[in-house]
């Protein structure tokens, strides 16, 4: 059917996109469209569920089924959509506030249950829609409308938490590296299980430059590493840095100073390694990990198990509704 030849354009609804000029979310939307194209589902079998936030306006701009819900609950609602109709390709689009502040509990449990959702966490480290308050992913000391003297909450690293919950797929992208974001969404779309895709986005109005350290043309490459399965962990503007093991941890080294064999090789299937990679932060002298950090298709999804159980009970007991109603002590008058 024609649907398989879909292009990004086909996924654009006729609603006018209302993000600020320069908002990072534009690029991310294209990446998500690439993911949907790759998944190959017809548009009318795709449902996007979002919460509330600038990023959560996303569904309006997509030529699929879309549900713009309430703040923080997208993961719980999407869980119901997926279990309600497992044939649908269900995406969650949510901001850092939506997912890690008010939505934290549903974020946790959707990951724990490994429901087969494609979850895009658009992280601009700020509450954009409400005009600039700090979020759980904002940095210590960051000044915002509600932290005029600086944030005193330690920032949360969503992907690290996700690994603690047994995530089966985690990846991290950056709005300004379009190609990478697309790869992530394509792999995520195909992953069987919950794909947690955190993509850094730049809020030009309320947190401009939040990711500059990573996106900077010259310096960026020295503070980020783009992981590829099976390849050595070498990074830097001139590939001068690498990562090596140190005890149970990872440390940065100069390629020049270490034996090639000591340079770590990325393994998407290594959960312990992924946990460490997900948590790397520049303030600890380590690069931020981008790309597909962890991907394991071997774990059953919650939605699969729901229907396995339903079918098992049908096979084992197979009562009819009339039988159910007539169970127990009955008598006739």
């Amino acid at each position: 059917m024609a649907e398989t030849q879909l292009t990004r354009k086909d996924f654009a609804s006729d609603a006018e996109v209302k993000w600020c000029p320069g908002c990072g979310d534009y690029a991310i939307m294209n990446a998500v469209r690439d993911g949907m194209i790759a998944a190959g589902k017809p548009r009318d079998e795709v449902a996007i569920v979002s919460g509330i936030g600038c990023s959560s306006r996303f569904p309006y701009y997509m030529e699929t089924y879309g549900l713009h819900t309430i703040h923080g609950r997208a993961a719980a609602i999407a869980s119901g959509v997926k279990v309600g109709n497992p044939k649908l390709d269900v995406w969650v689009i949510s901001g850092d506030g939506d997912s890690t502040a008010i939505g934290g509990n549903h974020f946790m449990h959707a990951i724990r249950r490994n429901i087969n959702l494609n979850y895009v966490l658009i992280n601009n480290k700020i509450y954009g829609l409400t005009k600039g308050q700090y979020s759980p992913t904002s940095e210590m000391g960051q000044r915002s409308k509600t932290s005029p003297y600086g944030v005193i909450d330690y920032p949360m690293t969503p992907l690290k938490v996700a690994m603690g919950l047994g995530a089966t797929f985690i990846a991290r992208g950056l709005d300004s590296i379009m190609k990478l974001s697309s790869e992530i969404c394509i792999r995520g779309a195909k992953h069987h299980g919950l794909s947690m895709m955190e993509i850094f986005s730049n809020c030009v109005i309320y947190n401009d430059g939040a990711h500059k350290q990573l996106s900077d043309k010259a310096e960026g490459p020295n503070h980020r590493i783009i992981l590829t399965h099976g390849e050595k962990m070498i990074y830097g503007a001139d590939n001068q840095f690498c990562l090596v093991q140190a005890g149970f941890g990872i440390k940065k080294a100069n390629v020049a100073d270490v034996a090639e064999a000591d340079i770590l090789v990325h393994d998407e299937k290594n959960a312990e390694l992924a946990t460490l990679l997900a948590g790397m932060r520049p303030d600890a002298g380590l690069p931020v990990a981008l790309g597909i950090i962890y991907a394991d298709d071997s774990k059953k999804t919650y939605d699969d198990m729901v229907y396995e159980q339903v079918n098992a009970v049908k096979a084992k007991l197979g009562r009819t509704m009339d039988q159910l109603m007539q169970e127990g002590h009955t008598w006739t008058v």
Binding site: A47, R73, A78, N85, Q326, G328
Partner: protein, 623 residues
């Protein structure tokens, strides 16, 4: 001996069991209920247990009770004052004897009246001897002694033998109420016999013996001068089953799903006293009922909204505090105009309040507990068995009008039980006509508009994800009255707000008219809703029998009100609304009809007794 114990016909007997919560009071209560029901009586029961899992043994706080009324006619409540109290220990006597009707019978286990047990509840001397219970017909029976005797030659620990006292008592009652002992013997076999899930031959044997010992004791002990004989109640013909309100609601959920052709779905989180509903429903996987126990109440209702969006028939179940957590998401279902049924089993509030006790204090929360102008229909179940129909009707209206509906029950009817005439799936109304998903093939040449409405019901056109070619976006921001696109247009908001309100108001027109119990006009009209139905019905019947100018009307739908309610009210001098709250329905009636409705308010974690309503009405009649 049996000969000289005369058999008195009686219309209704109220029995109460009281003992330690560990002592299986609910079990024995349910057994007698079943026994009486199987014998053709109508029965209504009211369990009443402490909120602690295991309150300390032998204390007042630890007393677990189970009251029931059996009759040869339709029974509406578990009765006012027990004719017979079976109190298994001093605590139970202390706790419950005061409720027994003057001259009523108190059967108790004299072996349990040890010094220690008595002082634990502050009895200085033995109440069975010191006249504390004078005015009652006390049967002090050394149950342990008699049971141990009966099981003397059996190889089992004394503790285990003592546990058989319950069946010993069943024996006495079986004789006392002139029931067919075979039913109990069969029951013991079913439960412990070779064909049972886990056969326990020893237990079966022991209980059988204890039961027979009880029967004998009744016949032989000269202490019983009279026995009660209840004729069968004239119930509608059909297959019956004794059921709790929570179980009935669970069945209705599965049945409604099947009869609508949609997958039934429950998104929920456990909370007393609603949890039993989820327990029972979780067993229905084989008929395709999907239950998701979510991480909290918010996720419970949200998963249900998601399932509804995907085209399931979705429900969420909860109690008071849980409902207050669901309010924001209920508002979402409302503005999305998706069908959703919220079953709320009310309990004592505010806050955690009295979790195991009944109350009707969530009515106004159900009406108004959401931000913005957001009205939704509310239906109330009026008996355990009625929870089936109320839930089923709620589902029908939710589908037909594309709206969330709140089904209100309460701890009393949710956990209480009564006989239920089991419908066959064929009898139940077909719900498929109310689904009518919007599909392009049914509307050639039309373009789909998510908020185009059926002119009569105002239900919006509903197309679910997966429908070929009509992908569209909806959300919780105010939206255009036709396209559903986000709209900040002032007049559009006015129109949408009015439309949402009218949708619910219009429902009134097609709701069944309220039926009057009694004359069309008179001095006092008593309005009941939900759990107060039974006590009010019973009270009004008795008042009418006494020739009083009193009528009753019950509200099945609490919002909107039935179309003829205002007219009915206008034909009575005074209006009384008994409620297990501080007057919540009264306030709705007053504001709607500008009538000085009198509120009879009771918040004691306990349903109304008929006499409480009768006394109030008589007071209003100036008598």
């Amino acid at each position: 001996m049996a000969e000289n114990a005369k058999l008195t016909k009686s219309e209704q007997i109220v029995v109460k069991f009281a003992g330690d919560s560990g002592d299986g009071m609910q079990l024995i209560g349910n057994q007698l209920t079943a026994l009486a029901a199987l014998d053709g009586n109508d029965v209504n029961s009211l369990p009443d247990y402490p909120s602690e899992i295991r309150a300390p043994v032998g204390t007042i706080a630890g007393v677990s009770g189970f009251q029931m009324a059996l009759g040869d006619h339709k029974i509406y409540t578990a009765g006012d004052h027990p004719d017979v109290l079976v109190a298994f220990n001093p605590a139970a006597v202390k706790h419950s004897s005061k409720f027994v009707k003057p001259g009523g019978m108190i059967i108790t286990n004299s072996d349990s009246f040890t010094e220690k047990a008595m002082e634990k509840v502050g009895y200085k001397s033995n109440p069975l001897e010191d006249g504390t219970l004078k005015g009652f017909d006390v049967k002090a029976i050394p149950m342990f002694t008699l049971v141990r005797e009966a099981l003397a030659d059996m190889e089992m620990p004394t503790a285990a033998k003592d546990r058989c006292k319950n069946f010993f008592v069943m024996g006495i009652l079986c004789w006392l109420f002139n029931k067919d002992s075979k039913l109990v013997l069969d029951f013991i076999q079913e439960k412990f016999g070779p064909k049972s899930k886990k056969p326990l031959p020893l237990v079966a044997e022991a209980n059988t013996r204890a039961f027979k010992a009880g029967l004998n004791y009744g016949e032989t002990a000269i202490m019983f001068q009279e026995r009660y004989d209840l004729g069968a109640a004239q119930l509608e013909k059909g297959l019956y089953r004794n059921i709790t309100g929570n179980d009935a609601a669970a069945l209705a959920i599965a049945a409604a799903g099947i009869k609508s052709g949609l997958q039934p779905f429950i998104g929920s989180y456990p909370i007393t006293p609603a949890t039993d509903l989820l327990h029972y429903a979780s067993e229905f996987k084989d008929v395709g009922l999907v239950t998701m126990q979510m991480e909290d109440e918010i996720a419970g209702i949200c998963s249900a909204v998601g399932a509804a969006y995907a085209g399931n028939l979705a429900f969420t179940t909860t109690s008071g505090p849980g409902l207050s957590l669901k309010t924001e998401a209920a508002g979402m279902a409302l503005i999305l105009e998706l069908p959703l049924v919220i079953v709320n089993v009310q309990r004592g509030g505010p806050s955690t309040g009295l979790p195991t006790k009944t109350e009707q204090s969530d009515l106004l929360q159900s009406m108004f507990g959401r931000n913005g102008d957001s009205y939704m229909p509310i239906i109330a179940a009026n008996s355990p068995a009625d929870c089936f129909d109320a839930t089923y009707q709620g589902a029908k209206i939710a589908l037909k009008y594309r709206t969330p509906v709140i089904v209100l029950t309460d701890g009393y009817i949710g956990q209480g039980s009564c006989p239920w005439k089991v419908p066959s799936m064929d009898e139940l109304e077909d719900l498929t006509p109310y689904v009518n998903f919007w599909k392009p093939e049914d509307h050639p040449g039309e373009t789909y508009q998510p908020y185009r409405r059926d002119p009569e019901t105002l239900a919006r056109d509903w197309a679910i994800p997966g429908t070929k070619g009509v992908q569209h976006r909806i959300g919780t921001l105010e939206k255009d009255a036709l396209t559903g696109a986000v709209s900040h247009d002032p007049m559009n908001h006015q129109i949408m707000t009015e439309t949402r309100t009218n949708k619910v108001d219009n429902l009134a027109a097609v709701l069944p008219k309220a039926e009057i119990n009694g004359k069309d006009s008179g001095k006092v009209l008593v309005i009941s809703w939900g759990g107060t139905y039974g006590a009010v019905k019973g009270a009004v019947d008795r008042l009418i029998a006494d020739g009083k100018s009193v009528s009753g009307v019950n509200l099945r739908w609490v919002w909107p009100f039935p179309p003829n309610l205002g007219d009915i009210i206008s034909r009575f001098d005074k209006v009384l609304a008994p409620e297990l709250n501080m007057g919540q329905l009264s306030m709705l009636l007053r504001s709607k009809f500008l009538v000085d409705v009198v509120s009879l308010s009771k918040v004691q974690g306990d349903p109304f007794r008929e006499f409480e309503v009768i006394d109030k009405v008589n007071e209003m009649l100036g008598e």
